[in-house]
Assembly symmetry: C2
Protein backbone atom coordinates (compact mmCIF):
# COMPACT_ATOMS: atom_id res chain seq x y z
CA UNK A 1 0.00 0.00 0.00
CA UNK A 2 1.38 3.32 -1.03
CA UNK A 3 0.88 6.28 1.21
CA UNK A 4 -1.33 8.95 -0.23
CA UNK A 5 0.07 12.42 -0.39
CA UNK A 6 -1.63 14.62 2.13
CA UNK A 7 -1.61 18.30 1.58
CA UNK A 8 -1.38 20.18 4.83
CA UNK A 9 -2.50 23.78 4.97
CA UNK A 10 -1.74 25.89 7.94
CA UNK A 11 -2.18 29.57 8.44
CA UNK A 12 1.41 30.09 9.47
CA UNK A 13 1.20 33.81 9.53
CA UNK A 14 -1.42 36.15 10.86
CA UNK A 15 -2.67 39.15 8.90
CA UNK A 16 0.02 41.48 10.27
CA UNK A 17 2.85 39.05 9.51
CA UNK A 18 1.63 38.64 5.92
CA UNK A 19 1.81 42.37 5.29
CA UNK A 20 5.17 42.61 7.03
CA UNK A 21 6.45 39.87 4.73
CA UNK A 22 5.08 41.69 1.66
CA UNK A 23 6.90 44.81 2.80
CA UNK A 24 10.15 42.92 3.32
CA UNK A 25 9.92 41.54 -0.22
CA UNK A 26 9.25 44.99 -1.65
CA UNK A 27 12.13 46.56 0.26
CA UNK A 28 14.51 43.81 -0.82
CA UNK A 29 13.48 44.22 -4.45
CA UNK A 30 14.07 47.97 -4.24
CA UNK A 31 17.23 47.61 -2.12
CA UNK A 32 15.86 49.85 0.61
CA UNK A 33 16.60 49.66 4.34
CA UNK A 34 13.66 50.43 6.65
CA UNK A 35 14.14 51.22 10.32
CA UNK A 36 11.38 51.43 12.95
CA UNK A 37 11.98 54.05 15.63
CA UNK A 38 10.13 53.35 18.90
CA UNK A 39 9.98 55.26 22.18
CA UNK A 40 7.70 57.02 24.69
CA UNK A 41 5.63 60.06 23.81
CA UNK A 42 7.95 63.04 24.09
CA UNK A 43 11.21 61.07 24.22
CA UNK A 44 12.43 63.12 21.28
CA UNK A 45 11.84 60.89 18.24
CA UNK A 46 10.79 63.66 15.85
CA UNK A 47 13.47 66.02 17.14
CA UNK A 48 15.98 63.20 16.64
CA UNK A 49 14.82 62.86 13.02
CA UNK A 50 15.09 66.59 12.48
CA UNK A 51 18.63 66.44 13.86
CA UNK A 52 19.53 63.45 11.68
CA UNK A 53 18.47 64.96 8.39
CA UNK A 54 21.80 66.64 7.63
CA UNK A 55 24.16 63.72 8.36
CA UNK A 56 21.75 61.10 7.02
CA UNK A 57 21.30 63.02 3.78
CA UNK A 58 25.04 62.83 3.12
CA UNK A 59 24.79 59.02 2.84
CA UNK A 60 21.20 58.01 2.13
CA UNK A 61 18.33 59.15 -0.03
CA UNK A 62 15.56 58.70 2.51
CA UNK A 63 11.89 59.30 3.29
CA UNK A 64 10.01 59.34 6.58
CA UNK A 65 6.75 57.68 7.65
CA UNK A 66 5.28 59.33 10.77
CA UNK A 67 2.98 57.23 12.96
CA UNK A 68 0.56 59.00 15.28
CA UNK A 69 -2.85 58.50 16.86
CA UNK A 70 -3.95 61.94 15.66
CA UNK A 71 -2.60 65.14 14.03
CA UNK A 72 -0.24 65.60 11.09
CA UNK A 73 2.13 67.78 13.09
CA UNK A 74 5.12 65.42 12.91
CA UNK A 75 5.02 64.82 9.16
CA UNK A 76 4.73 68.59 8.68
CA UNK A 77 7.85 69.13 10.82
CA UNK A 78 9.82 66.72 8.63
CA UNK A 79 8.36 68.00 5.34
CA UNK A 80 9.42 71.52 6.40
CA UNK A 81 13.01 70.27 6.09
CA UNK A 82 12.33 69.33 2.48
CA UNK A 83 12.21 65.60 3.25
CA UNK A 84 9.52 63.35 1.76
CA UNK A 85 7.24 62.55 4.71
CA UNK A 86 3.86 60.82 5.04
CA UNK A 87 1.63 60.81 8.10
CA UNK A 88 0.16 57.46 9.18
CA UNK A 89 -2.80 57.93 11.51
CA UNK A 90 -3.83 54.89 13.54
CA UNK A 91 -7.25 56.28 14.51
CA UNK A 92 -6.93 55.37 18.18
CA UNK A 93 -4.55 52.41 18.03
CA UNK A 94 -1.37 52.71 20.09
CA UNK A 95 0.98 51.22 17.47
CA UNK A 96 1.53 50.96 13.72
CA UNK A 97 0.46 47.77 11.93
CA UNK A 98 2.12 46.33 8.84
CA UNK A 99 -0.74 46.88 6.38
CA UNK A 100 -0.91 50.64 6.86
CA UNK A 101 2.86 50.91 6.58
CA UNK A 102 2.82 48.81 3.42
CA UNK A 103 0.28 51.03 1.68
CA UNK A 104 2.12 54.21 2.67
CA UNK A 105 5.39 52.70 1.50
CA UNK A 106 4.00 51.85 -1.94
CA UNK A 107 3.12 55.50 -2.48
CA UNK A 108 6.73 56.62 -1.91
CA UNK A 109 9.13 57.12 -4.85
CA UNK A 110 10.90 53.85 -3.99
CA UNK A 111 13.26 53.87 -6.98
CA UNK A 112 14.81 57.08 -5.65
CA UNK A 113 15.30 55.90 -2.06
CA UNK A 114 17.93 53.99 -0.05
CA UNK A 115 16.20 54.22 3.31
CA UNK A 116 12.79 54.64 4.92
CA UNK A 117 12.66 55.83 8.51
CA UNK A 118 9.44 54.99 10.36
CA UNK A 119 8.61 56.85 13.53
CA UNK A 120 6.15 54.69 15.41
CA UNK A 121 3.39 55.92 17.76
CA UNK A 122 4.80 57.16 21.07
CA UNK A 123 4.54 54.05 23.25
CA UNK A 124 7.04 51.67 24.85
CA UNK A 125 4.79 48.61 24.84
CA UNK A 126 2.77 47.63 21.75
CA UNK A 127 4.89 48.98 18.86
CA UNK A 128 7.54 46.44 19.89
CA UNK A 129 5.01 43.61 19.44
CA UNK A 130 4.10 44.45 15.84
CA UNK A 131 6.48 43.57 13.03
CA UNK A 132 6.03 46.12 10.24
CA UNK A 133 8.61 44.55 7.94
CA UNK A 134 11.47 46.70 9.17
CA UNK A 135 15.11 45.65 9.08
CA UNK A 136 15.72 46.96 12.58
CA UNK A 137 13.81 48.32 15.55
CA UNK A 138 15.57 51.28 17.17
CA UNK A 139 14.69 52.00 20.81
CA UNK A 140 14.72 55.63 21.93
CA UNK A 141 14.89 56.52 25.62
CA UNK A 142 15.33 60.05 26.93
CA UNK A 143 17.38 60.63 30.07
CA UNK A 144 14.44 62.48 31.62
CA UNK A 145 12.45 59.21 31.79
CA UNK A 146 14.46 57.49 34.52
CA UNK A 147 17.03 54.70 34.47
CA UNK A 148 14.69 51.74 34.94
CA UNK A 149 12.58 51.87 31.78
CA UNK A 150 14.47 49.06 29.93
CA UNK A 151 13.60 46.68 32.82
CA UNK A 152 10.00 47.86 33.01
CA UNK A 153 9.43 47.66 29.22
CA UNK A 154 11.86 44.87 28.33
CA UNK A 155 10.44 43.65 25.01
CA UNK A 156 11.41 46.76 23.04
CA UNK A 157 14.92 46.88 24.46
CA UNK A 158 15.33 43.15 23.89
CA UNK A 159 14.23 43.43 20.25
CA UNK A 160 16.15 46.63 19.46
CA UNK A 161 19.18 46.57 17.14
CA UNK A 162 20.31 49.89 18.62
CA UNK A 163 19.38 52.04 21.62
CA UNK A 164 19.49 55.83 21.45
CA UNK A 165 19.74 57.67 24.75
CA UNK A 166 18.41 61.14 23.93
CA UNK A 167 18.46 64.60 25.56
CA UNK A 168 21.85 63.98 27.15
CA UNK A 169 22.44 67.76 27.23
CA UNK A 170 20.00 67.74 30.19
CA UNK A 171 22.14 65.39 32.30
CA UNK A 172 23.68 68.17 34.47
CA UNK A 173 20.15 69.14 35.58
CA UNK A 174 18.87 65.63 36.38
CA UNK A 175 19.41 62.99 39.05
CA UNK A 176 20.00 60.45 36.31
CA UNK A 177 22.59 57.70 36.81
CA UNK A 178 23.67 56.84 33.29
CA UNK A 179 25.64 53.74 34.34
CA UNK A 180 22.60 52.41 36.15
CA UNK A 181 20.53 52.98 33.01
CA UNK A 182 23.09 51.13 30.88
CA UNK A 183 22.93 48.25 33.40
CA UNK A 184 19.16 48.11 32.88
CA UNK A 185 19.65 47.97 29.10
CA UNK A 186 22.34 45.29 29.41
CA UNK A 187 20.10 43.11 31.60
CA UNK A 188 17.62 42.68 28.74
CA UNK A 189 20.07 42.99 25.82
CA UNK A 190 23.72 42.35 26.57
CA UNK A 191 25.13 43.27 23.15
CA UNK A 192 23.02 46.08 21.70
CA UNK A 193 24.97 49.22 20.70
CA UNK A 194 23.97 52.30 22.70
CA UNK A 195 24.35 55.83 21.36
CA UNK A 196 24.18 58.89 23.62
CA UNK A 197 22.81 61.77 21.61
CA UNK A 198 21.62 65.34 21.96
CA UNK A 199 19.63 66.96 19.18
CA UNK A 200 20.33 70.29 20.88
CA UNK A 201 24.14 70.08 20.74
CA UNK A 202 24.49 67.53 17.91
CA UNK A 203 26.52 65.21 20.14
CA UNK A 204 26.52 61.56 19.10
CA UNK A 205 24.85 61.97 15.72
CA UNK A 206 27.93 61.19 13.61
CA UNK A 207 28.49 57.89 15.49
CA UNK A 208 24.81 56.94 15.17
CA UNK A 209 24.61 57.72 11.44
CA UNK A 210 27.91 55.90 10.83
CA UNK A 211 26.44 52.83 12.53
CA UNK A 212 23.39 53.04 10.24
CA UNK A 213 25.71 53.21 7.26
CA UNK A 214 27.84 50.26 8.40
CA UNK A 215 24.80 48.11 9.18
CA UNK A 216 22.61 48.87 6.19
Amino acid sequence: MTKANVRVYKDLMGENEKWAEETRKLLKEKNIVMINIIGSPGCGKTTLLEGMVGELGKIFRFAVLEGDVETTADAERIAALNIEASQLLTGGACHLEAKLVHYALKDLPLDDLDMVVVENVGNLVCPAEFDIGEKAKIAVLSVTEGEDKPSKYPLLFHEAEAVLLTKIDLLPHLDFDIDLCLDHVRKVNSTVPIFKVSAKTGEGFVEWINWLNENR
Copy 2:
Protein backbone atom coordinates in the same frame (compact mmCIF):
# COMPACT_ATOMS: atom_id res chain seq x y z
CA MET B 1 -56.08 40.61 22.54
CA THR B 2 -53.60 41.50 25.23
CA LYS B 3 -50.00 41.90 24.37
CA ALA B 4 -47.70 39.36 25.93
CA ASN B 5 -44.84 40.67 27.96
CA VAL B 6 -41.61 40.14 26.15
CA ARG B 7 -38.44 40.03 28.17
CA VAL B 8 -35.59 41.55 26.28
CA TYR B 9 -32.04 40.66 27.27
CA LYS B 10 -29.14 42.57 25.91
CA ASP B 11 -25.51 42.42 26.84
CA LEU B 12 -25.28 46.11 27.46
CA MET B 13 -21.83 45.98 28.93
CA GLY B 14 -18.69 44.19 27.87
CA GLU B 15 -16.54 42.22 30.29
CA ASN B 16 -14.42 45.23 31.26
CA GLU B 17 -17.43 47.47 31.92
CA LYS B 18 -19.01 44.81 34.15
CA TRP B 19 -15.94 44.65 36.37
CA ALA B 20 -15.66 48.45 36.41
CA GLU B 21 -19.29 48.60 37.55
CA GLU B 22 -18.62 46.02 40.29
CA THR B 23 -15.70 48.14 41.44
CA ARG B 24 -17.81 51.30 41.49
CA LYS B 25 -20.42 49.54 43.66
CA LEU B 26 -17.76 48.28 46.05
CA LEU B 27 -16.12 51.71 46.34
CA LYS B 28 -19.47 53.39 46.97
CA GLU B 29 -20.36 50.85 49.65
CA LYS B 30 -17.03 51.46 51.37
CA ASN B 31 -17.09 55.23 50.77
CA ILE B 32 -13.72 55.17 49.01
CA VAL B 33 -12.55 57.48 46.22
CA MET B 34 -10.39 55.85 43.54
CA ILE B 35 -8.30 57.90 41.12
CA ASN B 36 -6.55 56.55 38.00
CA ILE B 37 -3.24 58.26 37.23
CA ILE B 38 -2.22 58.03 33.56
CA GLY B 39 0.83 59.32 31.70
CA SER B 40 3.84 58.37 29.55
CA PRO B 41 6.61 56.10 30.78
CA GLY B 42 8.97 58.27 32.77
CA CYS B 43 6.64 61.28 33.10
CA GLY B 44 7.07 61.06 36.86
CA LYS B 45 3.97 59.20 38.07
CA THR B 46 5.70 57.20 40.81
CA THR B 47 7.83 60.15 41.89
CA LEU B 48 4.64 62.22 42.05
CA LEU B 49 3.10 59.58 44.33
CA GLU B 50 6.19 59.56 46.53
CA GLY B 51 5.95 63.34 46.76
CA MET B 52 2.21 63.24 47.55
CA VAL B 53 2.44 60.82 50.43
CA GLY B 54 3.04 63.45 53.11
CA GLU B 55 0.28 65.92 52.19
CA LEU B 56 -2.16 63.19 51.16
CA GLY B 57 -1.65 61.33 54.44
CA LYS B 58 -2.79 64.40 56.39
CA ILE B 59 -6.27 64.09 54.83
CA PHE B 60 -6.80 60.57 53.52
CA ARG B 61 -6.12 57.04 54.62
CA PHE B 62 -4.98 55.67 51.27
CA ALA B 63 -3.44 52.71 49.45
CA VAL B 64 -1.73 52.47 46.06
CA LEU B 65 -2.18 50.01 43.18
CA GLU B 66 0.81 50.05 40.82
CA GLY B 67 0.24 48.96 37.21
CA ASP B 68 3.22 47.79 35.17
CA VAL B 69 4.02 45.42 32.32
CA GLU B 70 6.83 43.88 34.36
CA THR B 71 8.82 44.35 37.62
CA THR B 72 7.61 45.17 41.13
CA ALA B 73 9.92 48.19 41.42
CA ASP B 74 7.17 50.81 41.71
CA ALA B 75 5.15 49.06 44.43
CA GLU B 76 8.40 48.57 46.36
CA ARG B 77 9.16 52.31 46.12
CA ILE B 78 5.73 53.15 47.59
CA ALA B 79 5.86 50.37 50.22
CA ALA B 80 9.23 51.75 51.33
CA LEU B 81 7.32 54.87 52.47
CA ASN B 82 5.17 52.66 54.69
CA ILE B 83 2.14 52.92 52.38
CA GLU B 84 0.03 49.87 51.51
CA ALA B 85 0.93 49.12 47.89
CA SER B 86 0.12 46.26 45.51
CA GLN B 87 1.75 45.59 42.16
CA LEU B 88 -0.55 44.76 39.23
CA LEU B 89 1.36 43.12 36.38
CA THR B 90 -0.35 43.11 33.00
CA GLY B 91 1.91 40.47 31.47
CA GLY B 92 2.52 42.39 28.26
CA ALA B 93 -0.64 44.47 28.01
CA CYS B 94 -0.16 48.22 27.76
CA HIS B 95 -2.99 49.19 30.15
CA LEU B 96 -4.83 48.04 33.26
CA GLU B 97 -8.19 46.31 32.88
CA ALA B 98 -11.02 46.48 35.37
CA LYS B 99 -10.99 42.82 36.45
CA LEU B 100 -7.39 42.84 37.67
CA VAL B 101 -7.96 46.12 39.50
CA HIS B 102 -11.12 44.71 41.12
CA TYR B 103 -9.33 41.64 42.48
CA ALA B 104 -6.43 43.70 43.81
CA LEU B 105 -8.86 46.13 45.38
CA LYS B 106 -10.74 43.39 47.22
CA ASP B 107 -7.53 42.33 48.93
CA LEU B 108 -6.96 45.81 50.39
CA PRO B 109 -8.13 46.67 53.94
CA LEU B 110 -11.04 48.67 52.52
CA ASP B 111 -12.67 49.48 55.87
CA ASP B 112 -9.56 51.42 56.83
CA LEU B 113 -9.27 53.45 53.61
CA ASP B 114 -10.68 56.72 52.20
CA MET B 115 -8.81 56.63 48.90
CA VAL B 116 -7.15 54.28 46.44
CA VAL B 117 -4.61 55.73 44.02
CA VAL B 118 -4.03 53.65 40.89
CA GLU B 119 -0.92 54.28 38.82
CA ASN B 120 -1.66 52.92 35.37
CA VAL B 121 0.89 51.45 32.93
CA GLY B 122 3.07 54.16 31.37
CA ASN B 123 1.19 54.91 28.13
CA LEU B 124 -0.78 57.89 26.81
CA VAL B 125 -3.12 55.87 24.58
CA CYS B 126 -4.84 52.70 25.82
CA PRO B 127 -5.17 53.34 29.58
CA ALA B 128 -7.55 56.21 28.68
CA GLU B 129 -9.78 53.75 26.80
CA PHE B 130 -10.30 51.33 29.70
CA ASP B 131 -12.67 52.25 32.53
CA ILE B 132 -11.39 50.60 35.71
CA GLY B 133 -14.22 51.91 37.90
CA GLU B 134 -12.34 55.02 39.02
CA LYS B 135 -13.98 58.27 40.06
CA ALA B 136 -11.51 60.32 38.04
CA LYS B 137 -8.76 59.90 35.49
CA ILE B 138 -5.78 62.17 36.19
CA ALA B 139 -3.51 62.99 33.24
CA VAL B 140 0.19 63.46 33.95
CA LEU B 141 2.42 65.23 31.43
CA SER B 142 6.02 66.19 32.10
CA VAL B 143 7.41 69.39 30.67
CA THR B 144 10.24 67.41 29.05
CA GLU B 145 7.74 65.72 26.69
CA GLY B 146 6.90 68.75 24.54
CA GLU B 147 3.91 71.05 24.38
CA ASP B 148 1.86 69.18 21.77
CA LYS B 149 1.11 65.89 23.53
CA PRO B 150 -2.49 66.81 24.52
CA SER B 151 -3.31 67.32 20.80
CA LYS B 152 -1.50 64.16 19.75
CA TYR B 153 -3.09 61.98 22.46
CA PRO B 154 -6.41 63.80 22.92
CA LEU B 155 -8.56 61.07 24.49
CA LEU B 156 -6.73 61.05 27.82
CA PHE B 157 -6.72 64.83 28.14
CA HIS B 158 -10.37 64.96 27.11
CA GLU B 159 -11.35 62.37 29.74
CA ALA B 160 -9.16 63.73 32.54
CA GLU B 161 -10.69 65.43 35.60
CA ALA B 162 -7.34 67.08 36.30
CA VAL B 163 -4.03 67.53 34.47
CA LEU B 164 -0.71 67.53 36.32
CA LEU B 165 2.20 69.20 34.58
CA THR B 166 5.24 67.61 36.24
CA LYS B 167 9.00 68.34 36.47
CA ILE B 168 8.43 72.10 36.27
CA ASP B 169 11.75 72.63 38.09
CA LEU B 170 13.37 71.74 34.73
CA LEU B 171 11.70 74.61 32.84
CA PRO B 172 14.77 76.91 32.94
CA HIS B 173 16.74 74.22 31.07
CA LEU B 174 14.15 73.47 28.37
CA ASP B 175 12.74 75.15 25.28
CA PHE B 176 9.25 74.48 26.60
CA ASP B 177 6.50 77.06 26.02
CA ILE B 178 4.13 76.48 28.92
CA ASP B 179 1.39 78.74 27.49
CA LEU B 180 1.49 76.83 24.22
CA CYS B 181 1.13 73.57 26.18
CA LEU B 182 -1.85 74.95 28.11
CA ASP B 183 -3.41 75.94 24.75
CA HIS B 184 -3.04 72.32 23.59
CA VAL B 185 -4.78 71.10 26.77
CA ARG B 186 -7.56 73.69 26.42
CA LYS B 187 -8.21 72.65 22.82
CA VAL B 188 -9.28 69.16 23.92
CA ASN B 189 -10.63 70.08 27.38
CA SER B 190 -11.57 73.70 27.95
CA THR B 191 -12.37 73.45 31.66
CA VAL B 192 -10.02 70.89 33.23
CA PRO B 193 -7.97 72.18 36.19
CA ILE B 194 -4.23 72.13 35.53
CA PHE B 195 -1.66 71.87 38.33
CA LYS B 196 2.01 72.67 37.79
CA VAL B 197 4.05 70.53 40.15
CA SER B 198 7.63 69.60 40.95
CA ALA B 199 8.34 66.57 43.11
CA LYS B 200 11.86 67.93 43.49
CA THR B 201 10.92 71.29 45.03
CA GLY B 202 7.45 70.37 46.32
CA GLU B 203 5.87 73.20 44.31
CA GLY B 204 2.18 72.80 43.54
CA PHE B 205 1.52 69.79 45.77
CA VAL B 206 -0.61 71.63 48.36
CA GLU B 207 -2.93 72.99 45.62
CA TRP B 208 -3.22 69.56 43.99
CA ILE B 209 -3.97 67.72 47.25
CA ASN B 210 -6.48 70.43 48.25
CA TRP B 211 -8.25 69.88 44.95
CA LEU B 212 -8.44 66.15 45.65
CA ASN B 213 -9.91 66.91 49.07
CA GLU B 214 -12.50 69.35 47.71
CA ASN B 215 -13.54 66.97 44.91
CA ARG B 216 -13.63 63.69 46.77
